[in-house]
Point group: C2
Chain length 411, copies 2
């Protein structure tokens, strides 16, 4: 349903072909051996949606507060921002950053009676998340025991899971073999989005199509893109995702986490490797970052992500203002077309500089399209990681900071 066009100067020699075949084999093994479980989420999470629709495990609410950070919030935020403006749904608020100014502002939009609080942490002891949960308990005078306005989403047997059991709170499991940044299609994203009223079966269907297609060898462009990046990252050190809709800004952040945390690693020889992900929003950042892409060093690949149809009739009026006639050439066009043409014009101008680009088109603000795109980026990340010879699914580099933080508080 989406379209993917690749204009990377990939040399399709035996080396590249082997690289692609090996990565495909590695992902197939990961899937079959359950090394990572995200490949199965589109099917598994359908059961969860059915359960939610049947059971009604919560008392009435008209807004949802997601208490979570990183992998526990970015994916849900991405989908909520993308689908939100065009759908009727309950609002979702994110209690994510412990920044106290932001926290207090968000608290003011919530209340005890009408808010469903979802506490989300894979490990169950994320310091920001549990601290914010404690502050919410105090701020709203929440009685935790058997509260039908609080649920947790966490690993089975995590401390948070045990806490929920102790107090008789509803608990949803994140599969052990699904890492935080690959978890958006698990309970982490599916519970809040389903309860808010989004069409999550269609979301899962979009993802399922992409994953099945990949394993049926119908999405070779993913392996090609991964091969180019894995071969050339020391030259093309950055991949810029240039997304043409404000509604994709949180998707960009999700992509940055997925890619950065998965691919920024020591490889099997102890070498520090990994291309850097950067997110930008068009047309705004054409007035910002584009100059650097066009005339700066040739160290970036650029992925253009566009919405084909904004399904919005707002147009530039046929109005000619004195002295401003120079701008009349867009008169009568919808703003959606203006954005789309700007994407294409920028893409042409970047291509003219022989900068490797690719072009992804999502037909509209729909669940299938974004579900497919989520799976596309997850597969791309796994394939690139396999080719780089790294552990794609861990994140050892963040532990030291946590240790130092604890020392700073306890010394």
């Amino acid at each position: 349903m989406n379209s993917y066009e690749l204009h990377y100067p990939l040399v399709m020699d035996d080396n590249t072909k082997n690289m692609m075949a090996n990565a495909y084999g590695a992902l197939l093994q990961e899937k079959e051996r359950g090394v990572t479980g995200y490949y199965n989420l589109p099917e598994d999470s359908l059961l969860l949606v059915e359960e939610l629709q049947k059971e009604h495990p919560f008392d009435d609410f008209d807004r949802i507060a997601v208490i979570g950070i990183g992998g526990s919030s970015l994916g849900t935020k991405a989908l909520h921002s993308f689908l939100g403006p065009k759908k009727k749904h309950l609002p979702i608020y994110f209690l994510e950053n412990p920044d106290p100014v932001e926290l207090r502002q968000t608290f003011e939009k919530l209340d005890k009676e009408r808010t469903l609080f979802l506490v989300i942490s894979k490990s169950g002891t994320t310091i920001e998340t549990i601290s914010i949960f404690k502050a919410a308990i105090e701020h709203f005078s929440l009685e935790v025991e058997s509260n039908r306005h609080i649920a947790v989403i966490t690993d089975v047997d995590s401390p948070l899971h045990k806490f929920a059991e102790e107090f008789g709170l509803k608990s949803f499991a994140i599969p052990k073999n699904v890492g935080g940044r690959f978890s958006v299609l698990s309970a982490v994203g599916i519970v809040p989005l389903t309860l808010a009223g989004f069409d999550t079966p269609k979301l899962l269907q979009g993802a399922k199509g992409m994953i099945e297609g990949f394993f049926a060898l119908k999405e070779e462009h993913i392996l090609q893109k991964a091969a180019f990046i894995a071969q050339n990252w020391p030259t093309y050190r950055m991949n810029v995702l240039f997304s043409y809709a404000n509604e994709l800004e949180d998707f960009n952040k999700w992509y940055v986490q997925l890619w950065g945390e998965s691919l920024g690693k020591k490889d099997r020889y102890g070498k520090n490797v990994g291309p850097t992900p950067i997110g930008h929003i068009g047309p705004v950042d054409q007035h910002s970052f584009l100059q650097l892409i066009m005339e700066g060093p040739r160290d970036k690949t650029v992925s253009f992500l566009c919405i084909e149809d904004f399904e919005e009739t707002l147009a530039i009026p046929n109005l000619s203002l004195p002295y401003l006639e120079k701008t009349d050439f867009v008169n009568g066009a919808t703003f959606g077309r203006l954005v789309d043409e700007e994407c294409k014009a920028t893409m042409s101008s970047v291509r003219s500089q022989k900068i490797p680009i690719d072009h992804i088109v999502v037909p509209k603000f729909c669940e299938e399209g974004i579900g497919e795109l989520i799976a596309y980026y997850e597969l791309l990340t796994s394939a690139t990681g396999a080719m780089l010879g790294i552990h794609t699914y861990n994140q050892p580099g963040v532990e030291l900071g946590k240790k130092i933080l604890k020392e700073r508080f306890t010394k």
Copy 2:
């Protein structure tokens, strides 16, 4: 008032000292010859503030709509987001991205009688800005003639200026020698922020102190940071600004434009040069981008930007939850302290990897501090540009896209 600590392994040999002295001399010349005018804005714009406070050129309004993109919006947005939550002020809405979904949502928050529309474009013919202005005229049935709810901010003698004269609209001038991305302290930012009720004289005072200090040779750290970046950008290809407050997210975007558009250039030998600016938000992006910084390639410098005092008492309750006792070590701390300690812990862990870092501290959400920070980054950009031997103040790389856009509409 802010503090700036540099931990870059700069070699202070004669070459570096000459580089710094030459760049200082180049900036002094720019200032004295009027090559760029931003050095004088802190003084010049004070007159504008006085004029606004005396003249009351507009009929009553209780919200402001800024119609502008890139250099005409990013700086104002940065200051509005940073100062906004802590101050009583009129809301400012930004009609920036032609994305029609976003545009329509913002239109719904505005009306004809209570909104002051500021149309901002340096050239006067920015296609997005004039198109959105036309849409606003139609949507709100604005009668343009002598309208005391519409003003323009543009170059003297630009088409937009002439349009304003024709219709008897109030017009504010952007000095010819102040480029868009250096214009936040000109009428571009000062008019909306003053009218919204921010203490712009203090903002200008903060900037003035930094500029005067720099030219009095009291801010050598700026030249040192610039020298390290100019000498080492082919190794350290990215500078990550890691800002520890959600209120700094728009500031990050302003920094990305300022740095990217100024420093991404062909140098005097035709070589494509320039380090890439990246913005991140802590603690959120500790759960995202940090892994890549810690274990990925050594191709980044990292600037940590922290708020010393959030002036917000919201604290983590002294609450011990069963099974979650592991998180109790932060109990009783304010969230402001948690954020600050996370910044310091992350900084230590990044430093332990011998990654060059610097640490900027702004005391609180105040006009002086952010005004100073704006001037700091402008001076850093100018100094780095001088050392790279590039034209810091133009942006030739964005013209081709504009040309292609026009062709796509007119062919």
